[in-house]
């Protein structure tokens, strides 16, 4: 017997515990099942792209910190790489290595939070794994403080290198972090990924085929979870990614579990990259000679990088003045929401929350 019921429209967000910032979902329910879903974005729009047009190239670095505020370092990196291509300047080797170390630390921090929220959204009170993730992230933030004096809004990278060399005490703390982190990653894996409840909840839920993922411009972990081993660090190596060895972890299922699993594996690969960078880095200047105020030749530049959440790039157009004529941000989080409806329809409310978490988007980057 089927009971005919009226569909209910429920606004999940913008004020909801698990919408990752001020994100609003208009979900239409038939009982617990979602029959229609509509994302509503724009609650965190700050006009970053417009603001960038009114600021000098160096000043825009501070704006990029605030896009995806859990991975400021890679935002800096994407921006300065585009600027460097625009100007035609090459940073010194030590600067590049420091950039990669910082960016990979940031990737670890970002993925830790992403994976930590998995358990939170599956319903562990306070997300126990999230607290553990914050504990480890705290050490990364301490290291960032040593590098650049800030913990979140870093502004560490500069056009032509990095701001300044790492202090002496940075290297021992990086060493101890690299020694400890695999153990914590194992612990996290045991807590999050081996639990039968998690597997029952997440495996097979909201799968995205490789074809769909590519069609929807998915990049980063959510694309690799669908089985496409696409990584800008491999495809078009920037900085020193061509000097280091690492693997691009992929999964086949493309479901919620795989999306988090890929992140967990990437944490280990990031640690591997940092190890190699530590071994290869040599003393030297960290920054090319470059004035703070400069006028790049007219032209345009776009350098995509592999940010923790996917392909991040700044499309810069110069008209020869001190500020960019146009600055467009290709943000991975925004693209992650393209299949929002297709992924949610047919699943239940509880799955919708986890699916949202598995996309690991950041509203600062979606709305810009």
């Amino acid at each position: 017997m089927t009971l005919r019921t009226e569909p209910v429209v429920v606004n999940v967000g913008p004020h909801h515990p698990s919408t990752h910032g001020v994100f609003r979902m208009k979900l239409t329910f038939d009982g617990e099942n979602i029959i229609d879903a509509e994302p509503v974005i724009g609650y965190l729009h700050r006009g970053t792209e417009k603001l960038a047009e009114e600021r000098q190239y160096t000043q825009v670095i501070t704006l990029t910190d605030r896009l995806d505020y859990v991975s400021s370092m890679t935002n800096n990196q994407a921006y300065v790489l585009s600027c460097e291509r625009l100007v035609g300047i090459e940073p010194p080797a030590r600067g590049k290595y420091l950039r990669v170390i910082a960016a990979e630390l940031q990737r670890v921090a970002s993925h830790l939070i992403g994976v930590g929220f998995f358990l939170q959204e599956l319903g562990v009170f306070g997300g126990t794994a999230l607290m553990y993730a914050f504990r480890e992230r705290e050490r990364i933030l301490d290291m960032f403080e040593m590098l650049c004096g800030a913990r979140i809004t870093l502004s560490y990278m500069r056009i032509g290198g990095v701001l300044q060399d790492a202090p002496e005490e940075f290297w021992p703390s990086l060493r101890s972090f690299l020694d400890d982190m695999p153990g914590y990653a194992d612990e996290m894996q045991a807590l999050v990924f081996e639990s039968e409840i998690v597997r029952a909840r997440a495996i097979g839920v909201a799968p995205v085929s490789a074809e769909d993922a590519v069609a929807a411009s998915f990049t980063g972990p959510i694309l690799r979870a669908s089985g496409v081993a696409w990584d800008w660090r491999k495809a078009a190596p920037y900085d020193v990614y061509d000097q280091v060895e690492f693997e691009v972890p992929t999964c086949e299922g493309g479901d919620n579990y795989d999306r988090f699993w890929v992140r967990m594996q990437e944490v280990r690969q990031s640690l591997r990259i940092i190890e190699q960078c530590c071994a290869q880095i040599e003393p030297g200047p960290v920054r090319a000679t470059m004035a703070m105020l400069f006028r790049p030749p007219p032209g345009e530049a776009y350098v995509p990088i592999e940010a923790p959440k996917g392909e991040l790039g700044f499309y810069l157009v110069s008209d020869g003045s001190i500020a960019p004529y146009r600055c467009h941000v290709r943000s991975p989080s925004f693209m992650s929401l393209t299949l929002f409806r297709e992924m949610l329809v047919g699943w239940k409310l509880a799955d919708a929350i986890v699916t949202l978490g598995s996309l690991d988007f950041n509203m600062g980057e979606v709305d810009r």
Binding site: I61, R135, I197
Partner: protein, 197 residues
């Protein structure tokens, strides 16, 4: 075996029960800050400032207001403008440090603190008198010379303007490579010569 993963997860949480909490009880204890921390207590050496207003120009938010008096100093002699107004509006400051990076004479430094809460917005504006009167505890952020001298804004001694050396950064090509010795023979911000050592 079904349930083994759950048991392992329970083991992880039990192991963490035995670990020390990692949280900081904030008002009583504070996270130890690195000397490079970019904090709110801007340090400004008036003796070094020429009133060029580079800091104001490079501030992404335009929150530094500088009014100088060209008659106050002897600029033909390599002297400085007299700085009448130096307002930093902390209410909007994001402590990015670009002003400090832009300063060609190492006169402005980041500070250490972060507890800037006040009851009125106006109180958040740092003016020139406050900057002059402040104890000089510069952050070592973007100041390698201070780092080499092992300056610590949190536990170390205050750094006087003569001790805060200069760093000729190669990536600022237009910056004159001046040493503190040369600086001594230059007019200070209030117009008087200070050649004594």
């Amino acid at each position: 075996m079904y349930g083994a993963g759950i048991l392992r997860g329970l083991g992880v949480t039990l192991r963490n029960l035995a670990r020390r909490p990692f949280t900081i009880q904030y008002p009583e204890e504070r996270v130890p800050q690195h000397p490079r921390f970019r904090g709110q207590e801007f340090t400004w050496y008036e003796q070094r400032c020429t009133g060029c207003a580079s800091c104001a120009k490079y501030c992404p938010l335009g929150i530094i207001r500088i009014v100088t008096d060209p008659d106050g100093g002897n600029e033909q002699d390599g002297g400085s403008y007299k700085v009448d107004v130096f307002d930093i509006d902390q209410a909007r400051c994001m402590y990015c440090g670009l002003c400090v990076e832009a300063c060609p004479y190492d006169a402005l430094h980041m500070g250490s603190g972060f507890e800037a809460a006040t009851l009125r917005r106006e109180d958040l504006v740092i003016n020139v008198d406050m900057l002059k009167a402040r104890e000089k505890r510069p952050s070592t952020w973007f100041r390698p010379q201070l780092e080499r001298a092992k300056a610590d804004p949190h536990h170390g001694d205050p750094v006087e303007w003569r001790e805060a050396g200069r760093e000729p950064f190669p990536w600022h090509p237009k910056r004159p490579a001046q040493t503190p010795e040369e600086m001594d023979h230059r007019a200070s911000a209030d117009g008087s010569y200070r050649s004594e050592r």
